[in-house]
Subunit: 189 residues, 4 copies
DNA sequence: CATGAATGAGTTTTCATTCAT
DNA sequence: AATGAATGAAAACTCATTCAT
């Protein structure tokens, strides 16, 4: 399944951190999941915390990478906002466990390591704000507080990790479309 | 300050669980915070998990109690939705630490105890759905998937616990107003 | 035997550190020796290293305390040197295990903690140097390098921890007398 | 530098055992120091303990070999004692790290292996005793307890490993001369 | 009500050694 | 000769909980 041992370990850790939380997952649990002895894990990871850091980093980098590209497109802000929402849904629903680790467990890192993640998630928010601000500036969007608007939309998109069910009736695409519509037009008749 | 010792303990626990997470907070930490010996805590709590359960229960009950009332009012759905958002903001910003414990730590409870919290939070969502569905039925709101709509609005309101800063420029009231406007009318010009 | 639990633990540790060395002695070994569980030890010590530090500190403080007094006496340097040698023998032979820990194991402490011991042992040497220098100045002793002389005499006295046998034929007093004679008059006929 | 790989490994081990002690030095540390993988070391050594044994053996054999020759010379005991002291200083100051390993770490060997070293160091003491006894018998030296005398002189010479500084003001030769003078004539004016 | 000693199971991590390649 | 993955035992330390006083 996994292309190499580290990936296998990280995948097991992601699943366990998602299910039980970082601290309730022992190194023994991870070792059991990949069929290694506890001690052998340390060929692949430096320690448990570094493993969490790598997982969280990989996750937020995935979010940032493409949003960076979307932000820079020369298309209407409205189109880019829709792309941003779809992109976000793709990542969250594509690996909901890893997203959960990022959003719920990363704060457990030591200040220094958490700072790395914090910086990257702040960057992610900034990209959303950029798009919205441009839309407000060119009057595609009603004027307002771009940051608050971004926090509102991003909040509803982030929350998805708490309720999305891959066996549910709707595809991620459909849900994302619905969320786009709500964000753009609101709920009033 | 605290009206009794249990309240004092719970308050210390809330603060510590918020800062460091449930598992990273030791019973010793809590004891230190209230100036008791570890052993003495057990006169007031049954065990650490029960303490978490009580905190989470108190929190979600606070959310549910008034929303129950709001839902039952005979006023337009639009008004009740606005009240729901304001109510939510009041509770989150009124005790952001307790909200954090509810939203981020409660899943660490054993299945049985987590079930209690899960049922109550599901109930909370249902109340939002009820209001929205009524608005859709009487054509105050555009027709759509009331549950998805509730998840979207509730998501953006829940996320507030991650970024709200009591020393920020805007009052909770102002932010809530802004969020109501966005939910109702969207961002398009 | 021991007047309190910490003393009991320290005594067990001294004996084990002497026999097997600090690193070859596990916390479990110490716990076994005093009939406690491993975890219970930590009511009395902060950690294993602090235990070593306390033992080494107690030991060197014992050496320094009385030599300080001897150095300050207004008696001939020769008398004080003899007292110093006797004092040293008393301490070494009175608790040869603790002396062994001080002389052989203290360097294993972290730099910071070892620094504390190093400073105190340097002080001890200085006291010997003081006495010898005064003897050289007032011509009780042949003139020479007081520090080298001190290192020579102290060296032969320290080495005692390696060979002294409490079941041997001579009492510490007798050995000390013999060493005094050698130091003062040499071996030549 | 090293003539072969084993020498290189032993040299690295000597340095590390001196700095950190035997148990605080991991096989990994030694491997790192010589630029090999941990596993590769085992082509050159049987195990860590055997490495310590070989180092300690080499060290004590160096001490014994020439003292054997000195003891057997047909020259006055006084001359041979002076040669013994100079010889000892040459070895200690010529490789103070190896001497440290011999004097401070060898006791960590298992009983059987430590026995080998113990026998050789006992032999070394015996050679000193022989010389001194001959000096006492032929009245070059004052009569007395030859073994105690040897322990006194050897002690001050051994202690050198604790304080000798190759960047110090005096050469090993000068220090040895000074120690010879003290041993022979004492410190009294 | 409060203490603090004691527990015992648990945690993460280290490490000397082996061995197939 | 060299590697590096794997082991398994052991290390120091933590912690929620109990209970006699």
């Amino acid at each position: 399944m996994a292309t190499n041992k580290y990936e296998e370990i990280a995948r097991a850790a992601i699943q366990l951190f998602d299910e039980k939380g970082y601290h309730a997952t022992s190194v023994q649990d991870i070792a059991d999941a990949v069929g290694l002895q506890k001690g052998s894990l340390y060929h692949y990871i430096e320690n448990k915390e570094e493993l969490l850091l790598r997982i969280a980093s990989q996750s937020i980098n995935g979010f940032n990478h493409e949003l960076e590209i979307i932000r820079n497109r020369k298309t209407p802000a409205r189109d880019r906002l829709i792309q941003a929402i779809h992109h976000h849904f793709n990542i969250v629903t594509g690996d909901i466990q890893m997203t959960t680790v990022l959003l719920r467990e990363a704060f457990l890192l030591s200040d220094e390591q958490h700072g790395i993640i914090k910086k990257a998630t702040d960057r992610y928010l900034d990209l959303w704000v950029d798009i919205i601000k441009e839309g407000m500036d060119n009057q595609e969007f009603r004027s307002g507080d771009a940051r608050l608007t971004a926090l509102s939309i991003l909040g509803s998109c982030n929350w998805v990790y708490r309720w999305y069910d891959e066996h549910g009736a709707r595809t991620p695409q459909q849900i994302a479309d619905y969320f786009c519509d709500l964000s753009l037009k609101g709920i009033l008749a």
